[in-house]
Symmetry: C2
């Protein structure tokens, strides 16, 4: 199992609007840097920096095609992670039944008071 720290690193890496859009795009297929430059509206060095971060984390990789760098998804967690993030949930989790929210209740189970 991934360590807590590794899980945190993955989350931190994905937790950025540009990077999450890059990953969603890579889900559809291979893309090169100038492709991202077009549809994200940020500078080329900035795109490269985000790609570099994702690569250092092992989340993506690339191959060379002439002078194009073609990036693709590598970490199998990512598709699952992105899918969960898109899911719609109708209801909140049920509050503990014995203990009404923001009102006094009883702490469930044994415990010092």
């Amino acid at each position: 199992m991934r360590s807590i720290m590794h899980r945190v690193e993955v989350l931190k890496t994905v937790a950025h609007p540009v990077r999450i859009r890059i990953l969603e795009e890579l889900l559809k297929g291979v893309k090169c840097v100038s492709d991202f430059e077009d549809f994200l509206e940020i500078s080329q060095p900035n795109v490269s920096q985000h790609l570099s971060l994702l690569r250092k984390q092992g989340i993506i990789d690339h191959y060379m095609d002439g002078r194009l760098r073609c990036y693709f998804l590598k970490d199998p967690l990512i598709p699952d992670l992105l899918e969960v993030l898109k899911k719609d949930y109708i209801e909140e989790l049920p509050a503990p039944a014995c203990c009404p929210v923001t009102k006094k209740g009883t702490y469930p189970g044994e415990r010092r008071h």
Copy 2:
């Protein structure tokens, strides 16, 4: 569907070693602040700050039991998110077949060269 920004906020909030451990613990059931103080080895104000952040994001909520504050999970995304993070994957995603990694290949589909 959650907006990109909302997804990013959720990920950023979970992406911290203390907070991820708090959430994993809450998955098992209700816990109060001093419970966390025991098993995480950080100060009480720091625990409160992390709980406060999680609450502002709508990820957790609490009820009062005397002078105890009993926290519980609220956002239904969290259990699914934590589960995906724990999953073990045996293999990396397959690299695009037509294009060997780090070697020259052909960019799949039509594109300027």
